[in-house]
């Protein structure tokens, strides 16, 4: 899965800005080849004392984003969230909430830097999650 530099930069800004709390948002595409080229930053709706290790996006807010995307011919590909000071691996909670067919990007963030991003996908609701390669466009130049 290709990730545009603009989208990566926006994710990076969001997760480092939110550190030490988890940041989350929506991954979108405006192209036919379905590369992630834009994002929508969400607010982490989990209560503040849990926000260092949990996140939750308001479904009604997401409904609005989804409708807007449809109007502007964009498509929701998946979601991203950060793991402050933790590796970018799926937690039990992450896996439980994965919607089949959606791409989940997890970014490990330490201090002021995004250390690593990894992508995951579930084929069926009861299938195990698979790691998918997220390629930053800059790496291809």
């Amino acid at each position: 899965m290709l990730l545009s530099e603009k989208a990566y930069r926006l994710i990076n800004e969001h997760i480092t800005g939110a550190y030490p709390y988890e940041a989350c948002g929506v991954l979108l595409t405006s192209t036919d080849d379905e590369r992630i080229d834009c994002i929508s930053q969400a607010s982490n709706e989990i209560s503040a004392h849990k926000a260092k290790e949990r996140f939750f996006i308001d479904p009604v807010w997401f409904y609005g984003i989804e409708r807007e995307a449809e109007i502007s011919a964009k498509k929701v590909l998946g979601f991203y969230h950060s793991h402050p000071d933790k590796p970018p691996v799926l937690s039990k909670k992450d896996e439980e909430y994965m919607i089949p067919g959606m791409i989940y990007i997890i970014a490990s963030v330490t201090g002021l830097k995004c250390k690593e991003i990894r992508g995951y996908l579930k084929k069926g609701a009861d299938d195990p999650a698979l790691e998918i390669e997220i390629v930053r466009e800059a790496a291809l130049i």
Partner: protein, 485 residues
């Protein structure tokens, strides 16, 4: 009624964004959707019929996901929204706090010693500090304890407490690789202590040369980060589980039998406990212990190494582990499976309405069927010496060996009739009810089961058990061989 389907879920609803559904409640609408779009059933519900965590149902801006809101009548102009719950959390936390990690430092020798851990991105300096800060109790220094203790020591666990009441015997050496021929008749904890000191003298090794019971278990494990169960009997397993659940200490469980092994993690973050998986033990004598049933030599090495690996992952806070799962391994045919262990909400120790609050209040002997029941006729028995005397005096007795053929092939009991337990009831006519009949097995437990089986089958002749089984008698049989045969 119009139902809006989120783009994230549309593949399961014929790619429709809006569906005109019939029904006047959420319940009706969900029924309509699953009838019309059978694929949606898998996305809406899990195998137990529960709505999946990532599904949210809204009516306008009101959340109606909870099932008790599914029966409320909807208005004609209401719009039902089927939306995703987008949520998650950080991966496993270490069981060692950051504060304790920060108190740890390394010298140059330690950096060299643990270099291969420090090279691993997931462990690194922080993980190794957590390992050094950890305080772990290993109960049982036998077959499973051998690899567990040695790997924990080699990995650099700062404090290791080993609990075992037993002494090393020759037959232990086939699988208990922490002990050597020179350790025979020494306490197992002493032998384990020597081994750990040879690996790393800086480890704080605490030895507890006693048998765990309801009086001492809490004192033994209180204040430690993790307990590793390396015992070989049900009474100890339930006792350890219950004490861990009451004190909130995670437990790494392991068990072996012949060619098969099991590993699981219990009592972690309010997850299931051993009782959730096995609410009751099997009937006494039905499942032989590893000592009675045997085990292939490397099996405890495999299972114990996995236990040590799980323990280290919990300490460091990395990877996926067996929390709420049971790994089963068959070393004979090389099969392994991971079974899910659900939390039993009726569990007497960790359920919603627990009934065990103190281990002292629970009778583990009775629970595991180790106590004589009041209404059960007690089984009389002879000591090996008494039986030897009867044989020497040529008393008219019948000896029945209930061991399996492969056990009898190891050591034959002279002049005994071999009837395995499974055949006893139908072969009871081979016994003479006018003679005393003495039943023998390996350890004197299955022979009690044999006597009770015959009683149930209606045999009325006098029956006796050989106390301690053939194991207790083998020195007499072989030292007297030829004298009284």
């Amino acid at each position: 009624m119009k139902v809006y389907i989120s783009a994230t879920l549309r593949n399961f609803f014929g790619r429709n964004s809006v569906i005109d559904a019939s029904g006047s409640t959420i319940k009706d609408i969900l029924g309509f959707l699953t009838d019309e779009y059978p694929d949606s059933k898998e996305i809406l519900y899990d195998a137990s019929g529960k709505l999946r965590s990532f599904i949210q149902i809204y009516v306008g801006s009101e959340n109606r996901t909870e099932t008790d809101k599914w029966y409320k009548e909807l208005k004609e102009d209401d719009e039902v929204l089927l939306l995703p719950a987008i949520a998650g959390g950080a991966p496993n936390e270490s069981i060692i706090s950051d504060e304790r990690r920060k108190e740890i430092s390394f010298d140059d020798k330690e950096i060299e010693r643990f270099g291969k851990h420090l090279l691993l991105r997931e462990i690194g300096v922080k993980g190794q500090k957590r390992i050094k800060a950890a305080r772990v109790v290993v109960i049982g220094a036998g077959a499973l304890g051998s690899p567990v203790i040695q790997y924990l020591a080699a990995a650099g666990v700062g404090t290791i407490k080993v609990v075992d009441f037993d002494e090393v015997s020759l037959e232990n050496l086939q699988s208990q690789v922490i002990h050597t021929s020179r350790d025979v008749k020494r306490p197992k904890v002493a032998s384990a202590k020597d081994k750990v000191r040879n690996i790393d003298r800086s480890i704080v090794f605490e030895d507890e040369n006693s048998k765990i019971d309801t009086e001492n278990i809490e004192e033994i494990i209180d204040g430690y980060d993790l307990v590793i169960d390396c015992t070989d009997n049900y009474k100890a397993r339930y006792l350890i589980n219950d004490a861990c659940a009451l004190l909130g200490i995670p437990l790494v469980f392991g068990a072996i039998y012949q060619y098969e092994g099991q590993v699981g993690i219990f009592n972690l973050n309010s997850g299931p406990c051993y009782r959730c998986l096995f609410p009751t033990p099997p009937e006494p004598g039905l499942v032989p212990t590893c000592a009675e049933g045997g085990a292939i030599s490397p099996l405890p090495g495999i299972v114990g190494s996995i236990q040590a690996n799980e323990a280290l992952k919990l300490i460091i806070g990395i990877g996926k582990h067996l929390d709420g799962k049971l790994l089963t391994i068959d070393s004979l045919y090389l099969n392994s499976r991971i079974l899910k262990v659900g939390k039993n909400h009726k569990c007497p120790i960790c359920g919603t309405e627990p009934s065990i609050f103190k281990v002292e209040d629970f009778d583990y002997e009775e629970f595991c069927g180790l106590k004589e029941q009041e209404n059960e006729i007690p089984v009389e028995g002879f000591t090996p010496e008494e039986l030897a005397k009867k044989i020497e005096n040529d008393e008219p007795i019948t000896i029945i060996d209930v061991r399996e053929p492969h056990e009898r092939a190891i050591r034959r009991f002279p002049n005994a009739i071999a009837i395995p337990i499974g055949q006893l009831a139908r072969r009871k006519d081979e016994l003479d009810p006018d003679k005393d009949t003495i039943f023998i097995c390996k350890e004197g437990k299955r022979s009690i089961l044999a006597i009770n089986t015959l009683r149930e089958a209606g045999y009325t002749g006098p029956m006796y058990n050989l106390k301690g089984g053939f194991d207790a008698m083998k020195d007499i049989v072989f030292s007297h061989e030829g004298a009284w045969l």
